[in-house]
């Protein structure tokens, strides 16, 4: 049997459930919109000018103690979609996560990573790691990788065909002094 009080209580509960579902929908819509609008630049990928300025600043800091910066350049066969670029950036950022590490976009197809306080030996190692990351993040997209170590000037890059993807290196780097 259903009394008036019970029916009223049920309607009150339904109203509360409806309000909660509306809140859930609004939250899900916000998340969807956020995902739709999110770009690699939103996530922290530096534009060419900002990257250049930040690299110059790191170079000045390194020069003060006569240290070097390892630079790895990625040259892709084509421009990436927003989703691809975001995926690449997220993967690179998980590796280039030390203070001062920079990830910048040079143009539609070229990206550069800078690892301050790294010498020539590190540059080769970094290039190997980056090659694995790019292959994982962008399967099927050909790329060339270049590496250099700079001290007081931007290095000239010679493109190096990317080697077959090595086994993914653990995302652990040796601690670097700053």
């Amino acid at each position: 049997m259903f009394s008036d009080a019970r029916l009223t209580a049920e309607l009150d509960m339904a109203d509360a459930a409806i309000a909660q579902m509306r809140t859930t929908i609004a939250r899900m819509q916000t998340i969807e919109a956020d995902v739709r609008l999110r770009t690699a630049e939103d996530a922290g990928l530096l534009d060419p000018q900002t990257y250049s300025d930040a690299l110059a600043q790191e170079q000045r800091a390194c020069l003060e103690i006569d240290d070097a910066i390892s630079i790895v350049e990625i040259d892709l066969e084509r421009e990436l979609s927003r989703e691809e670029e975001l995926r690449l950036y997220a993967e690179l950022r998980s590796f280039a996560a030390a203070p001062g590490d920079l990830i910048g976009k040079l143009d539609d197809r070229r990206y550069q990573l800078a690892f301050p306080w790294n010498g020539a030996a590190d540059a080769a190692r970094m290039q190997g790691f980056v090659a694995g990351i790019v292959a994982d993040a962008l399967p099927g997209i050909e790329s060339m990788l270049g590496r250099a170590t700079c001290t007081n000037a931007m290095p000239a890059f010679s493109a190096i065909p990317m080697q077959p993807a090595p086994a993914r290196a653990p995302i652990v780097k040796t601690m670097r002094s700053r």
Binding site: F2, D4, L7, I25
Partner: protein, 60 residues
Amino acid sequence: MATDETTISERPSEMEAQRAAMAEAHEALLANDLPRAESLIDTAERHGRVARARLQSRVL
């Protein structure tokens, strides 16, 4: 003990319709079909308003 409340043997059809719409809306939410979930919640709300109005008129 005397009471002014009336009782009925079945839940009013509008309330049953509301429950059905809410169950469907829940399914749509789980399927991440937000437009359908929103539409079903609107339907559930309308059924609820009608049910409440009928209940109040009966009580009065």
